[in-house]
């Protein structure tokens, strides 16, 4: 019970970490009920006029290669792209019949946290023990990365809340 709901949350977080907030997504999330709940969860939705500035934040926080910031497990654990986590995620996705289409992933490596959250959302509805194992192997790594307190504003909040989410799903398992 509740797995579908959590799967939806994981998908949303995956989306927010995968790409810059766009007008369409912002409008969808600005539904009064939803935005109130998001606010209660710690995420205040920005104004449309802030999107350009937020895209620059997104670059600095998640893309800028010089900061070593991309939320990629292989980098976080091993210092290079395409380490063992990438191989493992690919195998898990294969077994689950999930296609990791680079176009949809916007070029994100398969072990980017956004992709891993999305994959978790598929697993949790299918096989809880697999999802638990997946959390252990492919989500928990991100906690120190998400918990750093130097990210500000919208994406700072998203990171903190995603960290809470990963903790919550981990503890509940």
């Amino acid at each position: 019970m509740g797995h579908e709901a959590l799967a939806g949350v994981a998908k949303l977080f995956g989306l927010l970490l995968l790409r810059e907030l766009e007008t369409e997504t912002l409008r969808s999330l600005s539904d009064p009920v939803l935005s109130e709940i998001l606010k209660g969860s710690g995420i205040t939705m920005p104004e449309e006029s802030e999107l350009e500035e937020l895209a620059a934040d997104f670059f600095e926080y998640f893309v800028n290669p010089q900061q070593g910031a991309p939320l990629v497990q292989s980098i976080s654990e091993g210092g290079s792209y395409e380490g063992d986590p990438a191989r493992d995620v690919r195998k898990i996705a294969d077994a689950a019949g999930v296609e990791l289409d680079p176009t949809h992933l916007m070029g994100a490596p398969v072990d980017h946290l956004a992709v891993e959250l999305a994959l978790w959302s598929v697993l949790v509805e299918r096989d809880r023990s697999a999802a638990v194992e997946f959390t252990r192997r492919h989500l928990v790594w991100s906690l120190p990365r998400l918990r750093d307190n130097e990210r500000q504003g919208f994406y700072g909040n998203v990171c903190r809340v995603v960290a809470d989410f990963i903790e919550a799903i981990g503890k509940a398992s």
Binding site: G2, L6, G8, V9, G14, L18, E20, E24, S28, L34, G40, E52, A55, A56, D57, F59, E60, Y61, N64, P65, Q66, Q67, G68, P70, V72, I75, S76, E77, G78, S80, Y81, E82, D84, R87, D88, A95, G97, V98, D101, H104, M106, G107, A108, A118, V122, L123, D127, R128, S129, E133, T135, V140, V161, D164, F165, I166, I169, G170, K171, S173
Partner: protein, 939 residues
């Protein structure tokens, strides 16, 4: 389907963060998301997968197959990570399973211009090892340290994987990610406007290194611009011009070192860095070990090549030509020359040459160069005695000087005198600098446009574009600064000019000026210094992710052809120009699209390109199949390019020809085809005289802007008149190999020295400091000073100096129109010194390659990204590279305080702060090694 037993929680207890969002809140959020219409637009980035539930067996299999075998070694699980001894030392080395069941994909390295053959071992979609391809006829399976660091490059954590667009001021460092669609739409619009303006040449493509020549040319030609810029002037222009003066046919000498008995090296560092580095070094060592070849080196600095030579002399900078001319003097005076060869193949007689070289005595050269006259004489004798299996070898050490063209002309003369030209073990060349492009042609591309580009063919430089295109790269930013040209769109490609071009501040200022460069798009696999001054940066593929047909000067003296092919899919959103130029051309339209068939993939294009490559049909399905399995093709039946001038003309060739009774030159339809020698009609040299051009009327005439149509017709190979826009720039240039004194080297003050530059064996000029294995070996580059010099300045090892660089008096006198002057350049450089006898007392040497201010934390020697000075978005936890954290010991924590600086820490110093723009008016060569500097000790 799910496990009955509650799995253990993977989350460690008691992480403390205030006001955490609870599971209940997440459930509520989930329900709201599901209920809201928003759910439709918020689908995730992966699909739902198969509907089949995962069986327990599936599940277990997944986890088992997903565990880190076989790459897991101790705590470190990464391919490309060197496990050094220490707390995490390897416990299972070598891993017996590591290379089992790998797919082997052949390709070509591109970490320097030698393009050695490589083989990637690919497993689970990842390259786990790159080694030399033993089938490559040029590099023969050998790689240097750079090539061995391929995985550092490929999987670097700081690779740029997405197109980005600046959102702040240019150079401010504020960016956002954009999609390829957005990037190409904007680019097409801007390039379309350039075409509409009619000033096509205001779109410049500036390559640092381009091995996809066909793809780039097709795009630029289809667009209609000739402003394709390169770094030839900063590399080898003088050497090429000197070779072309003698040969016309080729700009590149390929000493037959493997079969040689004597190699006379003027400042080439073949063992560390050279355009033919590994292929040349492999053969040179074989020549030494197998034939007992003697290697004698003249170099201002003790390079690894110099140090590994049989004899090494340290001449004063820029005097290589004087030494060579004194050797020529000895060879003629003592009648050690090859009289028969000279009589047959030199266009000047020995007496005429003697008239030129008589004043150049060994004593005179000894005084200038500080090399003992007796040694110059002795080595001249030895060289002549070893001929014809004797060859000179030279490169930037002799040619990257204000007088570089004449230095290399003088060095070339030695081979002519002893008759080793084109002989086994002698001074050789090839009819092509790459694959045989008469035999293998890329699919038809757009024709060359007629537009005139001032940047591509600057009028002051006599020989830069007379035979081949040798762009005078170092004046590009100066021309823009002087408003002699402007650019609407500037596309940089694999270019690191802020680090490698002289006068970094000139480059930076031009980059920042939107009036001079209206829009700058940078194509690079990393966010380098060039990218930091761009408006848009496009993530480029690595050389392990793209296609090319390629080859370099073949040291086997027969042409070969190699293929670079993708070993894996590009990471992230990286794309190659072969992939996105067609899309961009179609978006620009206006006829450009015609050159890009809609339905042709890059692989299909390559198939067409290589369709004529012979293959053994018993073993392979097609040329592509052969190239895939072998990697390279060399014609086993082709003879080595020895003595090509002796090839007889056929009756068919001779039919309808005439012979000039005076010169014996054979002409057909107004064009030279050969020469009559001893009654035999042979091809001869492809020069105006059909002989080696010791005296070059061509050079003297083009320098004066006189018509050389008759000479070009007689050569019937290369060469052209200078175009109309060169007309105001006329010079008197000697047709002979002479010594040209560098004016500014005379009468130096006691605190002045000549600054020279060099490359390391683990770095190229500006693109390898991001490789952690290479940077661990070399990351710091104090200036080299001789102990006598250090004593004069009261310097000790590790003391700091300030360097002021001066522009060249010679350059200013020869090229007044550039308005360079001969004064101090703006920047100064503060650098520590290392005191060593391995440098001439009159010189100071600083390496290039280091001192980056972008290009990854590795290149900046920042173990802790917090020190990068870019606070926005700083992530203190950052990425974790256990290898980097454990082994990165050279971070400089002195924070600019010289007293606290520890030796061998930091990321080095960029020499180009004090390196003046200094082009040779003849060839356009940047004089990297002639700079007069003033130094002072810092307290």
């Amino acid at each position: 389907m799910s496990s009955p037993k509650k799995p253990e929680s993977p989350i460690p207890e008691a992480t403390s963060a205030p006001k955490k969002t609870s599971r209940r809140q997440f459930l509520k959020l989930g329900s709201a998301l599901a209920a809201a219409a928003a759910a439709g637009t918020l689908s995730g980035c992966v699909g739902q997968g198969s509907t089949k539930p995962l069986s327990k067996a599936d599940n277990l299999a997944v986890w088992r197959s997903g565990t880190g075998q076989p790459y897991k070694v101790g705590e470190i699980k990464m391919p490309g990570v060197c496990d050094l001894p220490g707390p995490f030392k390897k416990t299972r080395f070598p891993d017996p399973d590591k290379y089992k069941n790998t797919e082997q994909v052949h390709g070509l390295c591109q970490l320097c211009s030698s393009i050695c053959g490589i083989t990637g071992h690919v497993k689970d979609g990842r390259i786990i090892k790159v080694e030399g391809n033993t089938n490559d006829p040029n590099s023969r399976g050998k790689l240097c340290a750079r090539g061995q660091s391929a995985l550092n490059h490929q999987y670097h954590p700081e690779r740029l994987l997405h197109p980005i667009r600046r959102v702040g001021e240019r150079g401010e460092g504020k960016w956002k990610r954009i999609s390829w669609d957005e990037a190409l739409t904007e680019l097409a619009e801007r390039l379309g406007k350039v075409r509409d303006s009619g000033d096509h040449e205001e779109f410049a493509f500036h390559q640092g290194r381009n091995r996809s020549k066909d793809a780039v040319s097709n795009f630029l030609r289809a667009f209609g611009t000739n402003t394709q810029l390169n770094h030839r002037g900063l590399c080898s222009a003088a050497r090429r011009a000197a070779n072309l003066t003698y040969l016309f046919e080729s700009d590149w000498d390929l000493g037959d070192y493997e079969n040689s008995k004597y190699v006379l090296n003027f400042g080439s560092n073949m063992f560390e860095a050279h355009q033919g580095h590994i292929p040349g070094a492999v053969r040179l060592q074989r020549g030494r070990f197998n034939n007992g070849a003697k290697l004698v080196t003249f170099d201002v600095r003790m390079s690894n090549t110099a140090g590994n030579s049989d004899e090494f002399f340290m001449p004063y900078p820029g005097t290589d030509g004087a030494i060579a001319l004194a050797m020529a003097h000895t060879i003629i005076k003592e009648k050690l020359y090859n009289a028969e060869f000279m009589a047959t193949w030199s266009n000047a007689t020995v007496d005429e040459i003697w008239e030129q070289v008589e004043p150049y005595t060994p004593e005179w050269a000894g005084q200038l160069s500080t090399v003992p006259a007796a040694d110059i004489t002795r080595i001249a004798r030895e060289f002549a005695a070893a001929a014809p299996r004797a060859t000179t070898m030279c490169n930037r050490g002799s040619s990257a000087h204000v007088n570089g063209y004449f230095n290399d002309r003088a060095i070339g003369l030695l081979n002519v005198l002893v008759g080793s030209v084109g002989k086994p073990g002698g001074w050789c060349w090839m009819f092509t600098g790459g694959y045989d492009n008469k035999r293998f042609k890329p699919p038809k591309g757009a024709p060359k446009p007629k537009t005139k580009s001032l940047l591509a063919d600057p009028p002051e430089f006599i020989l830069a574009n007379r035979w081949n295109t040798m762009r005078v790269g170092e004046i590009v930013y100066w021309y823009l600064a002087q408003e002699r040209a402007k650019l609407q769109v500037y596309m940089t490609y694999n270019l690191d000019s802020p680090m490698t071009w002289p006068e970094m501040n000139v480059t930076k200022n031009v980059f920042l000026d939107e009036k001079k460069i209206n829009f700058h798009v940078c194509i690079n696999p990393f966010f380098n210094e060039t990218a930091s001054f761009a408006d848009m940066v496009l993530p480029w593929t690595t050389y392990m992710e793209r296609w090319d047909v390629d080859a370099r000067g073949a040291y086997n003296l027969k042409p070969y052809l190699s293929m670079r092919r993708p070993m894996i899919k590009p990471l992230g959103e990286a794309r190659d120009v072969r992939d996105f130029f067609p899309d961009l051309a179609r978006r620009i339209g206006g006829g450009m699209e015609e050159w890009y068939p809609e339905d042709q993939t890059v692989e299909q294009y390559m198939t067409e390109f290589t369709k004529d490559v012979p293959y053994d049909a018993d073993k392979y399905d097609s040329p592509m199949d052969f190239l895939e399995k072998v990697g390279a093709y060399e014609d086993p039946d082709q003879a080595k390019y020895y003595e090509p001038y002796l090839v007889p003309l056929t009756e068919k060739q001779l039919a309808g020809s005439t012979v000039d009774p005076e010169t014996q030159i054979i002409t057909k339809d107004g064009k030279g085809i050969g020469i009559l020698q001893g009654g035999t009609a042979v091809v001869g040299f492809k020069t105006p005289s059909r002989k080696l051009e010791v005296k070059s009327e061509f050079v003297a005439r083009v320098a004066r802007n006189q018509d050389v149509t008759d000479l070009v017709a007689s050569a019937n190979s290369k060469g052209s008149n200078r175009p109309e826009h060169h007309k105001p720039y006329n010079y008197e240039v000697s047709p002979w190999p002479i010594y040209m004194q560098i004016e500014e080297h005379l009468g130096l003050d006691s605190d002045q020295l000549v600054m020279t530059s060099f490359k390391w064996n683990v770095h190229n000029h500006g693109r390898t400091a991001n490789l952690k294995w290479c940077s661990e070996i070399v990351h710091s580059n104090p200036a080299w000073l001789h102990p006598d010099t250090a004593k004069r300045f009261e310097l000790e090892d590790g003391d700091w100096i300030e360097i002021i660089g001066y522009r060249s008096k010679s350059v200013d006198r020869c090229l007044p129109s550039l308005n360079l002057g001969s004064g101090e350049i703006q920047d100064k450089l503060q650098i520590p010194v290392v005191i060593t006898k391995g440098i001439h007392p009159g010189a100071i040497a600083i390496s290039n390659s280091l001192g980056h201010f972008e290009y990854s934390n590795v290149a900046q020697a920042k173990k802790d990204a917090k020190l990068s000075g870019q606070s926005a978005g700083m992530n203190p936890t950052g990425y974790r590279d256990p290898d980097w954290e454990r082994n990165m010991w050279w971070q400089d924590d002195s924070n600019g305080d010289r007293k606290k600086w520890q030796r061998n820490t930091g990321n080095g110093w960029a020499q180009n702060h004090v390196l003046p723009i200094s082009p040779d008016y003849i060839s356009g060569q940047q004089a990297f090694n002639s700079t007069v500097v003033r130094i002072r000790k810092l307290s």
